[in-house]
């Protein structure tokens, strides 16, 4: 009997620690309060964990050992405690810098941005721009150049005045420079440094950053110019529905009637205004760091309306750290710029090699009368009637 009791006692003493290891509550005890393997695996899988056991473990100055005792000089917070306080933004930091982000020494939340910026964002940009160029090349090979169908008259119609063309070219030239310099910045670390080396890229990066930052003002001024001079011609109306239903006659059908701008051009115009405006705002936010915060307020408003819930998503992060605001601005700036660049590729194609006579509109300001009759029949009729009536008045 005594032996049996002894055996039971032995089993119990051995079983309790084994059960304790399996129990989640005591799992952390086995690591001395540090994170467990399960915590690490969940974090690697992007699953939220309650890490208050780390964020709250930042020492206890009230229980600090006297300064003349061992470890007393640490003031109740060990070095790991201090680093945890840095990571979770709870350390009492004093700095001579006065920028909003100066006291954030470790921004743990920025890692997802860095990974996204160095991976999926570059892939998205390369596929989008490369795919658009490929699609346009294929379209050109299949459809060929859109020719003027009727017989050319040899007469021209004024399509754009000098100031309109100036606004367009100011916008176009600055956008192209911004696009090239922006891509150099975006692909620099992952593509250009491995290809050309640090020193070459450093020189290139300094130059492109200067150009990108400063020529942006020309883009913003031009955006205002083209909005003012063309918005009245770009208000959607019934002719646009007819034009869109026939896909603009681009696949070989008859040209549907159009005013000064057809529905396709109106879509380009509003894409440039809306996306270009958004790029300008996020660019200003990046140009003046921490001064213009777009996302904190936007996320708060969207959360209050319950917008993320409409899509079954959790609330957007709020409040944002100063660095997070800049990170979202950078991603937004890059993604919207890449989308607008793809749209502009299509615009450049149709305005140059894709369509006979189209470049003259912006090159000289004058277009062949037959081109105007085919592509903008309503506008051409108005302009030609107006010209006739002016001639009539002057002759009488």
């Amino acid at each position: 009997m005594l032996r049996l009791l002894g055996l039971l006692a032995l089993i119990w003493t051995l079983a309790v620690p084994a059960a304790a290891q399996e129990a989640p509550a005591d799992a952390r005890g086995s690591t001395g309060g540090a994170q467990t393997l399960e915590d690490i695996l969940r974090r690697q899988d992007g699953i939220a964990i309650d890490d208050s056991f780390r964020s709250d473990l930042t020492g206890n100055p009230d229980a600090a050992a006297p300064i003349d005792e061992q470890l007393g000089t640490l003031g109740g917070a060990s070095d790991p405690d201090l680093w945890r306080a840095f990571r979770y933004g709870t350390a009492d930091i004093t700095t001579q810098a006065r920028t909003p982000a100066a006291t954030t020494l470790i921004q743990d939340g920025g890692m997802w941005w860095l990974k996204f910026r160095e991976g999926p964002l570059l892939s998205f940009g390369a596929y989008l721009l490369g795919g658009t160029l490929l699609a346009l090349t294929l379209f050109y090979m299949i459809r060929g150049r859109i020719r003027i169908g009727g017989e050319k008259t040899g007469r021209t119609v004024t399509r754009f005045k000098a100031f309109e063309r100036f606004g367009h070219w100011l916008l176009a030239s600055s956008f192209l420079v911004l696009g090239v310099t922006g891509l150099i910045s975006l692909f620099g670390r992952k593509v250009l440094i491995p290809a050309f080396g640090h020193e070459t890229f450093a020189f290139l990066a300094v130059g492109t950053k200067w150009v990108h930052n400063n020529i942006s003002w020309a883009f913003m001024i031009a955006l205002v110019i083209i909005f003012v001079v063309w918005v009245v011609h770009n208000i959607p109306d019934r002719t646009d529905l007819h034009w869109l239903a026939k896909a603009g006659g681009i696949l070989g059908g008859e040209h549907p009637p159009a005013k000064k701008f057809n529905a396709g051009q109106k879509l380009i115009f509003w894409a440039v205004i809306v996306l270009g405006g958004s790029i300008s705002l996020s660019g200003l936010s990046l140009l003046f760091p921490f001064e213009i915060n777009m996302f904190n307020h936007t996320f708060s408003t969207l959360n209050s309306w319950g917008v993320p819930g409409w899509f079954g998503a959790a609330d957007l992060p709020y409040p944002l750290e100063p660095q997070e605001e800049m990170q979202y601005a950078q991603l937004w700036h890059a993604v919207v710029s890449l989308i607008l660049t793809a749209i502009i590729f299509a615009h450049i194609y149709l305005g140059s090699v894709g369509m006979e006579g189209a470049f003259d509109a912006m090159g000289k300001g004058e277009v062949e009368e037959q081109w105007a009759r085919e592509h903008h029949s309503i506008w051409a009729e108005e302009v030609l009637n107006e010209t006739k009536s002016i001639k009539k008045r002057t002759s009488t």
């Binding site: 001579q96 810098a97 006065r98 920028t99 100066a102 000098a162 100031f163 063309r165 100036f166 606004g167 367009h168 070219w169 100011l170 176009a172 030239s173 600055s174 420079v177 200067w210 150009v211 930052n213 400063n214 020529i215 003002w217 020309a218 001024i221 031009a222 003046f288 760091p289 921490f290 090159g363 000289k364 300001g365």
Partner: protein, 43 residues
């Protein structure tokens, strides 16, 4: 192409002008957020 050439010239002038103006008002985050002198308030 006069409008095109004028636009190129304008974009260069605007870029250089903007840089001069922004530099003169000390727009950079480094200039706005830090002191030019070090200050030691205690040992």
């Amino acid at each position: 192409m006069k409008a095109f050439l004028l636009a190129i010239v304008a974009s260069v002038v605007i870029a250089i002008g903007a840089n001069q103006i922004l530099n003169s008002i000390g727009f950079s985050s480094a200039a706005a957020g830090t002191s030019t002198l070090n200050v030691r308030t205690s040992e």
